[in-house]
Symmetry: C2
Subunit: 386 residues, 2 copies
């Protein structure tokens, strides 16, 4: 099996862009990714994998080819959808395509336009990634699903609403330094803990926004990398897992088993362990999800996530910075763009392109992307050359 590398990556800002279309957003991400992989041109791309949930009334069938045609690519394009993990899976598929020998250079990306839906439509639209019969059709929103997890967690462990808020406060502070962040402002512990309740115990500041945006990465084989000068990050491992789509069908509310299994697979493929990780982007769609991620990914034991946050271990200057980009909470969460967007951030960090939020001396970086409330998850480990 030959190695796969990320050799270029780019994204749009995440936010509300009524003047943009799904195609123009994708084109911006594509152009930035190609510009960053300047030893390659679009003609070098062998195929593309595009992640989007894409049920918002735009191109529904063939939504992958619809964006690659717009940027002038005439290559096999596969659309993948695993809810909010769509483009995390797109990156994984691109890695498989490269490792299979069937492609040398693969574009993996994703997009979503969400802010043009009215309030109720957004609720419905997001709900489609929940379990249909007993979650969506009974009116359970995703905030509601994650609130059940938060409630169970606060009940089971020595944790408080402030511990949830600490994840949000950290991520807002990080996002305030990210020119691509949707909610690029800081918030206080009081703001977060005493904010409007969305789904008890989650307040507004514990919930990520709905965003527009796109992200794209260029995955290339070791042969391509050997032939030219790239700032490349090796894909050391990539693991994925699926689980019951409905939260109520799982044995636990205080972990996401698919995350745990995806991480195990990624660590095994990379022959590394959680202690080796220097930097991570985790799927904090709701604040509780960041705490569960610390534990599911092996950064700490069960019930110990609050302590990591209290001691600042996951702050930018801590032992293991998490969501330096701002995470879904502050950077934003345009569903199909999120997973690829995490990889964009890590590639920038590993190649010294992260500007004001640059983390020093990171070698092994982890991206963690979850679909729905945990029906799917994918974990990617990237290795820099430091």
């Amino acid at each position: 099996m030959r190695d796969a590398y990320i050799v270029g990556a780019g994204q749009t800002a995440f936010g509300s862009f009524p003047e943009e279309s799904y195609r123009s957003l994708f084109a911006t991400a594509f152009d930035r990714a190609m510009a960053s992989a300047d030893a390659l041109s679009p003609e070098d791309i062998d195929e593309a994998v595009v992640g989007t949930l894409g049920v918002g009334g735009r191109q529904i069938g063939l939504s992958g080819p619809a964006v690659t045609e717009h940027v002038g690519l005439s290559v096999p394009t596969t659309r993948v959808e695993n809810a909010c993990a769509a483009s995390g899976y797109a990156v994984r598929n691109a890695v498989q395509a490269v490792k299979s020998g069937m492609a040398d250079v693969v574009l993996a990306g994703g997009y979503e336009v969400m802010t043009d839906a009215s309030g109720d439509a957004t609720k419905y639209w997001l709900g489609v990634s929940g379990e249909t019969e007993w979650e969506r059709l009974t009116g359970t929103t995703f905030a509601g699903t994650y609130a059940q997890m938060a409630d169970a967690y606060l009940h089971e462990y020595d944790a408080t609403v402030d511990d949830l808020s600490r994840a949000a406060v950290k991520n807002h502070a990080n996002g305030a330094k990210n020119p691509h962040a949707h909610l690029a402002f800081e918030c206080s512990l009081e703001d977060a803990s005493e904010g409007t309740v969305v789904a008890d115990p989650l307040t507004l500041y514990h919930c990520c926004p709905t965003s527009d945006g796109a992200a794209a990465v260029v995955v290339a084989s070791e042969d391509v990398v050997d032939d030219a000068d790239f700032d490349a990050a090796r894909v050391a491992g990539v693991g994925a897992a699926s689980d019951r789509v409905g939260l109520f069908e799982r044995d636990t509310y205080t972990s996401i088993p698919a995350s745990e299994r995806a991480a195990e697979a990624a660590y095994e493929m990379a022959d590394r362990n959680p202690g080796d990780v220097d930097l991570a982007e985790v799927h904090d769609c709701f604040a509780i999800a960041e705490l569960l991620a610390y534990e599911d990914l092996g950064f700490c034991g069960r019930g110990e996530a609050p302590e990591l946050l209290r001691e600042g271990a996951t702050d930018p200057d801590g032992d293991l910075p998490v969501n330096v980009s701002g995470g879904l909470k502050s950077k934003g969460h345009p569903i199909g763009a999120t997973g690829a967007g995490q990889v964009v951030e890590l590639w920038k960090q590993l190649t010294g392109r992260a500007g004001d939020r640059q983390v020093a001396d990171a070698n092994l970086a982890l991206a963690h992307n979850v679909g729905g409330s945990g029906g799917a998850a994918v974990v990617t480990l990237l290795e820099g050359d430091q």
Copy 2:
């Protein structure tokens, strides 16, 4: 690159099954595929790729994991969607996963439930795979799009409506022998040419039905095949291509360029040529599509497809039997199941399981699956051991 093999395959009947759900259909296809690969058990499956258009109001996000959880699989599941080519691409992704070394046994399948939509909803639902702004939203149905191709073809070449009908008559005769066919009855040339006009020049008999159904195939590495006794068909080649989603944006109405490029890629990978093909399942969503397929796949020159049909070259006892299953026309077209269903048919033919419709001495078999009016296409070449 290690070789990938089809080692088992199964499908439901295609038809109208109000008593079934998308999950029960998928489970039947899965059970039949596993039963046919009796050296393997579900625990041997490393991952799954599921194709579905899936916008009919059932599970929309995470519709891949929703069916694999139902059959008791707890493996990474990727949903792919490329309109009517969804599960043709799913098979291709499975081949890449096996060749990448990241998986040894991959389940590839697809499903669709279409017959529970009312008339207008079906029209809308299918339309989502057309180009959005200038086809779907202006009311162009798929029959309308393919009628434009048929009209152009009849104008450009020495061809008549009867030539279109010959494809339908042949496929109905074939489907009448297939216990899994949706429209398992014969029709005459008069029936077909003088049927109710759906979109001039296409009559009812030139159009495939909307169907419910599911199909699944088991793709395994050469190592797995070497270790156990399988009736295996080698995946000699698989090629894919995308194109402009809207027909009106392409240079030609009398070919599907994505089919041509997908076929070229598959032939090149297999180091074979069109003359080597012994048996084919082609994407005859409308009768004109079968004629275009003959030419795009290199079975004959431009404008020569009618002659192939007139002389019976693609009849079951001809030089190159096409759509022995009945094709989309008679076997049916449950969108996400169609591509995998073609591979099911070819695997059965290559392993002597095709019952009354068994073709003798086929070695190289070709499956051709198109998304929309040609925004995506995928061609798979399977090699038997004869």
